[in-house]
Symmetry: D3
């Protein structure tokens, strides 16, 4: 977690929730009141974002002590104390919702990712995320995917060349696309191409791509390509794939399966902040 | 949609996706290539965020023409053209993912909200959202709730007093809490209290609250309170409520049901950008 | 005082006064020179902004010790030591003018507010401020009003509905305006209407407003309305009211008198920074 | 008026007044409603800030037409139309208060400045402002002083050396202070010293200062110094000077009188926005 | 040139040069004065930054017309008109120095780069830049390198793995370093290692690196490595290399030579802005 | 060094080099690894920017200890340890390039400046810089000039009036230009004029300028002007002057020679970061 990058996101969240303070807590709770409260899981899951939660409280009030009971990436069961905060009651109440908004979402992503990763246990296939992340939260959501055991696909459009169908529409051939890219981009950049059948895969490999993506193919077609491709360069399978499909795809020996729903649709994990009785 | 507020969010999303440009499109597609593409729904839903999508393209390249075919809040069926973009191919490709990331999420929230709203058709009960929104996107997500037919609860902690269980733990009584709040806050601010039974509701009303929230009560207890409360001040029901529960709750005559899952867990609606063949 | 909100204002003030340092102090005073200086009042007043003054010095040089002798909201007489600063001479000189610019203005507002509040001693009527504040300093000026014993009217246009004459020009009736507002705004928002006679007041109350404002009425008209209104909802009197008028208005039993001149026109209180002889 | 500098100030003012829109105007006035309104003076004054008012509306809604009837620096009488705005009613209402907050304050400063300037008509003495400006608004307030016919003293601590009593406390002599400054600062920088009697003035001039400030002296002492000084370098009189004193000071032949109250204490000029009946 | 990225750099440059306007031009030249001026080369060179110069004027005053006579990347001789500006004299004078500061530096980099590129004419070896760029101007300086015919090495530390001597000090072997990197980084990332002899090069290739860097080797050692390496992966030569050395290095058949001095030390090309007589 | 001003420049440099971390160091070096490294000069020079280097590491990781062995402005010889850093290896590696990019450039400017200053030893003539600085780095580059023993000319266009040939083209006479400037600008501002012969110099002095600049004159012409001018006001010589010319110019008795190449063209001094063996 690189907090220089995350601070602006947390500040934005706090400003959005408290443009002019928390008028409830500030008006009815004494500034001197001290409390202790715990983050308690109300269902099973994989933890992600505990340091973001800590940072939320640090940015609100440096007098709050935050004690982490579990590390990101760990499995927890319903009823687990994930962390403890101690300090001025008003400050804890100000951070409660924002800390939970981060923690519940990121743990939700990690928890879902883990299900995909577990389904592939025993295979060499890895789960990748996509660029279908929430605007403004990509760094955090991709971090949550890693905490769930997944790997990250490219961070952004500046980091890797990925030639997709919407690009190929405007070019004569895969070969032309790949050669143009190779000529123009920095030598340190990898090139991946999306293909839909064996002929295209062969054209791409001959043009010198570093990685290949199979998009929305049938298992048979995939097998054909993978059998020919394997050993040469890594192969990724993409497209609307559910938990049920990925085991059979993995059995073909693909290197990566990318899953958009890890980040484009997710359930928050139910975590609560409970105050200790005094 | 207030674009002064939304522009920084879009800029952040674009910077996050293109810190140094789109090396794929820029290296293989001619800067002179022009295209036309449509936003096409791949499932049914309620539209939200079409103006955000438009703004994404405007901020990338003012030469892109964006023609809206449907307005936010409208129902669409699978296969509907929601909008058309026309302009430099490279610029359209740069905005594709970011525009979809907004449009799919916001439409997802609107679509889910509409299901709750439809379930209450014929009653006077209204669906409210909560502060369980994605950090940084609250304004947009609350907008999507309105597009789905819901109403917004308070925007933030500075706008309304809402005294919850975590506050009451630190005070002697509901009465003390309400009186303190009334004395301290600006006269234009409303006060709501969360209660768990009839006695508390009565104490709150006598202390002069403007609105009351019933948290995690049984239907019987709710009925008791609502029967006594009705006609005096608005009553809101909160707590983990699914689609199945809300009809029976509404039948008690409550004014509002607030639903956290509208924004804390959601499915993106499947919308694609399809290029027209030339 | 919420310093996350105030820091950007102080930084802007310091940048404006020292875009490239304090060339006088830096060129003629040794970087090793240490001093002690006091904030000394040169006339009577009510203190406001002492923590802002402290923060000015903290942001310039963390080695400066700032010792507060009086708290905001307290009355001081001419010749009172309000605070003491100790530290590098150059840094104290850099902050002198900016600290005084805040302290003199905010204390000026608090001092004037106190005169209005004192004039109403023994009545139940409270002094409110308005939105006629200095651009960029609203949060601080409204804070100063509270330190003078006043209460704050709405912070901004997003927090409360206040329907004024310039709105009513565009609507058929007060009733239409109030009903439209109630239908559109969040349930946690209060609605106030400006009225000019008893009939309008009655129309507003029947439409369900939460508060009423009497604008530029004669005492007789006000009395008529207040007599009818009292007990139902709070009533505010606005318009160009001087110290001399407010006692007779308060005697009518109104809840609030709002006074624009608290913040739109004010005298700085004369406070100086005096260095102790070494 | 340099609008790149002023835009951030206006944006801050608008954000402060509308963090989430104008819920009154937006909920009760049709987005299609068009209006015409005039800025009308309710007392005599000197105009300053009319272009800031124009810019407020431009930044809110580019569809608003703003027609200026008078230029900054011009005298107006009660009842004068200063400008006309035309456009969407909701947008005009959103900008009303912010535009007036700038225009009333800046015109207040210009109006007071003009009184001082007029008092000195026929003399060669000029009115200067000070650094006692409102934090964040220095550029605008100094502009208003110019519109009132005054001249600006140094903009900030980086632009000119001004050695005052609080500096001299830490040095052996005026001579030492001036020589140190001359040695350290850029050759393009002027040096001014504050003196309290003839001997100090002579020491300063011999040390080579470019300008001299007489602080809180009696008329006799001033005369002594001015008589000796005149013809050599410009002389400025500072200290708490009211309108009544400045004529006798000017008659001594000083070049400048600086007046802190131009900006540290001021009355807003009463200007209103009046909607035209339709 | 991506102007969204460049605007903040230009704004910073203009703020730094005109915190409070251009007091010379504004005080002596009429706001109505119009002029025409040309950018004239006073020595030969390669153009880079002409669009940055255009943007400087656009951001100062949209009424300035800027007509480009030559495109970036083109060779010009002494006495060539590179561009013409036409518009308000004051605005042209405000932008003169800032436009030249960009244009002279970037053309300086392009001109030097071209010398290296020309020296390698007829070979397949390409000139690369490094991360030794001016803080804040990397995007522009790397653009200038491309305009001079060079290629860009990695933009930053986030884009590519480059294992150098300072890394290897902390690891057991090149092999360990490469395997660790491959395991941890995203699959779209390339890995390069710096080696100092043939054995290290062989270890690196066996560990699966994508590119190899020869640092400060003698020609003989380089030849040994290149002979063994060629045909497998690209090879880069780095270290303090002058124009005289690169031809012999290129003759070995290396793919890239990276040259730090392209950006860490450079001469501005002499370009002037000349006003046309009226 | 004023770090409030410098921090944004360092942050920009770090963001530019690490938009998403240092993927090499983070993936292969243990987060627990600690190191010690020294900044070692590889050639002679004058130090400038050592506190900027310190600040780079402070902003990356507060656990890094930075021990300065030499102060800015000091001469060092090849092989000198300039500073030592100690702390987490990964954090040191992250800051290495950015710290060097600042340190090498600023020391390069100081080193060149010192050559000019040394050439003038024994004369009273001082070396001045110009506004030909790298966009965004003016404050730092002008600081480096001072460390090399030079003096700074005006910081920016807002601080001093300097009337040059491109201004005079638009005016009737030097006299008109000077009088206009004197009338319009603040009294604390100095005025300098660029002249090309004795007659112009005389006109300027009679109009009351504070300083005069001789641009591109022959030694004979300069002598004529200097002989007449001396004793009245300071005189500066500008234009393309190399080390060889300045001694003869200084011998004429001019006060300042301004040299653009100090900042528009420079060599980085070779400084390296070397890790200590463990």
């Amino acid at each position: 977690m690189d907090f220089e990058n995350v601070d602006p996101i947390i500040h934005a969240a706090l400003r959005e929730d408290m443009p002019n303070g928390d008028i409830t807590s500030e008006s009815i709770i004494s500034a001197k009141s001290q409390s202790e409260a715990i983050f308690l899981s109300r269902e099973d899951g994989i933890l992600a974002g505990i340091e973001v939660a800590r940072r939320v409280f640090e940015l609100i009030d440096s007098r709050i002590a935050f004690e982490k009971h579990l590390k990101d990436g760990k499995l927890f069961q319903k009823g687990t104390t994930l962390a403890k905060v101690q300090g001025p009651t008003v400050s804890i109440l100000k951070g409660e919702r924002t800390a939970l908004n981060f923690l519940q979402r990121l743990s939700g992503i990690a928890t879902t990712t883990r299900k995909y990763v577990d389904a592939l246990a025993g295979t060499k296939t890895k789960i990748l995320d996509t660029r279908k992340t929430t605007p403004g939260l990509r760094v955090l959501e991709k971090y949550a995917v890693r905490m769930g055991g997944g790997q990250n696909h490219r961070l952004n459009l500046s980091e890797m060349v990925l030639i997709k169908d919407n690009h190929l529409l405007h070019l004569k051939s895969i070969k032309e696309a790949v050669l143009k890219a190779r000529e123009k981009v920095r030598p340190g950049i990898k090139i991946e191409v999306e293909v839909t059948n064996l002929a295209e895969a062969q054209e791409a490999v001959q043009a010198g791509v570093d990685m290949i993506m199979l998009d929305n193919m049938s298992l048979e077609r995939m097998k054909e390509v993978v059998d020919w491709l394997r050993r040469k360069i890594p192969v990724e399978v993409s497209g609307a794939v559910g938990l049920e499909d990925i085991v059979s795809i993995a059995s073909l020996g693909v290197d990566f399966i990318s899953v958009g729903s890890l980040t484009h649709s997710y359930r928050s994990v139910d975590i609560a902040l409970e105050f200790m009785s005094e």
